[in-house]
């Protein structure tokens, strides 16, 4: 169910180009508006839909199996810390939901650049970098070392 851009609403700000994890939102050379260059590779993450300040990006269902006439629209309000969804079913019913964007204050998560570089000697450890400290647990369960029997 790939994204598409309402060309009249788009103002060509480029937010969707920056945020698309598939790098498939680009700027078209005729109108300088965003467009999805490869709909087959869109995984409907909704990142561009949420980021677009003009609400110019929508997601469409494939006509052969998606409920026609239905829509899922989203409104992200960062200052208020909410994300709202409006679901329109094909029988006309409407449902709206509002959720907090996150449950911790903005800026409270330590970014990866603030961690010390990982120790190369830890490559043989089953733990990932900065575990278990970054998970804020004392220790993670470990499998006992496997020692094959000599035979």
């Amino acid at each position: 169910m790939p994204t598409f851009t309402y060309m009249t609403r788009c103002d060509g700000c480029g937010e969707c180009v920056d945020i698309c994890p598939s790098d498939i939102m680009h700027i078209d050379p005729i109108h300088r508006r965003s467009y999805n260059i490869e709909p087959n590779f869109c995984w409907e993450c909704y990142a561009c839909v949420k980021a677009c300040p003009q609400h110019a990006i929508d997601v469409r269902g494939y006509a052969d199996f998606a409920p026609l006439g239905a829509s899922v629209r989203v409104l992200r309000e960062e200052a208020k810390g909410t994300i709202s969804w409006k679901i329109r079913y094909r029988d006309g019913r409407l449902k709206e939901f509002t959720f907090p964007i996150r449950t911790t204050p903005w800026g409270s998560i330590k970014p990866p650049s603030d961690y010390a570089p990982a120790d190369a000697n830890a490559l043989s450890s089953p733990l990932l970098a900065h575990e278990p400290d970054a998970l804020m647990v004392a220790a993670l369960p470990m499998l006992l070392a496997f020692e094959p029997a000599q035979g």
């Binding site: 103002d11 480029g14 300088r32 309000e77 200052a79 969804w85």
Partner: protein, 256 residues
């Protein structure tokens, strides 16, 4: 100096009537180009369909006063001050280009029709003409080199021109050659005056004749879209969720 009517220099090799006929032809080109654009891209049909769909989905009926109030707010915010843009740099560059172009265009028309080859043109007109041209160039070159989305966000080199650049390139070339023509005329170089005036006419013609293929028409349809969006929010036909922020949060914080 910059207080003299710049079109007097053209009167040395062209009759004043030439520029008057030229301005009228350019106005007709913009009108014809816009009508062709409406027909060719079926923009009028699209907006009519959109309006019919939102009217059918409306949960509240708006009075004439409501619509007039929305139109006034749209004009004040989205049209006059380019409030649609969340990026302040893009907003400022558009303000400079738009108001500079209006100033430059109006003073051109007044000087061409009101003071053709008249050495006693009020100084305020050439001064405003120069200020308008400089505003277009500051906003325009800023936009062209540093703000174009395909350059800033899509990683394209600034010199790679595409069809979307037709409008900005024609506008910048037209205004740049207008100022060059004025400067070489002031310097008293008749050959360069003719060459730069020819380039000025070429790019000005390109600017106004290319309306159906350039981004010129976005000056007309963007206000229509802005009104439509506000009407949909007011009559309940918007497909977006109800904002949790009073009045809605227009522009989220953005690094760009």
């Amino acid at each position: 100096m910059f207080t003299d009517n710049p079109f007097i220099a053209a009167a040395a090799f062209l009759p004043p009537r030439f520029l008057q006929v030229y301005v009228i032809l350019m106005v007709l080109a913009v009108v014809a180009g816009t009508l062709f654009d409406l027909y060719h891209k079926r923009s009028a049909q699209f907006f009519t369909q959109q309006r019919a769909q939102s009217s059918a989905a409306a949960t509240r009926r708006l009075s004439g006063a409501d619509v007039a109030s929305i139109a006034a707010r749209t004009f004040a915010h989205d049209v006059a001050t380019f409030g649609e843009f969340c990026n302040p740099s893009r907003r400022l560059s558009h303000v400079l280009m738009f108001y500079g172009f209006v100033l430059y265009l109006v003073t051109t028309v007044v000087m061409v029709f009101g003071y053709p080859a008249d050495p006693h043109t009020p100084a305020v007109l050439p001064v405003l003409w120069n200020i308008g041209a400089l505003m277009v160039l500051i906003g325009g070159y800023w936009f062209f080199f540093f703000l174009r989305v395909n350059v800033v966000h899509d990683g394209q080199p600034p010199w790679r021109l595409v069809r979307a650049d037709l409008f900005i390139v024609a506008l910048l070339a037209s205004v740049s050659f207008a100022l060059l023509f004025e400067w070489v005329a002031m310097a008293g170089n008749p050959m360069a005056t003719r060459v730069f005036f020819g380039a000025y006419l070429f790019f000005t013609t390109l600017l106004f004749v290319s309306v159906p293929w350039s981004k010129f028409a976005h000056m007309f349809y963007k206000p229509v879209v802005a009104i439509q969006r506000r009407v949909e929010e007011a009559d309940g036909s918007s497909d977006l969720p109800t904002p949790t922020t009073t009045g809605g949060e227009r522009c989220p914080p953005s690094p760009t």
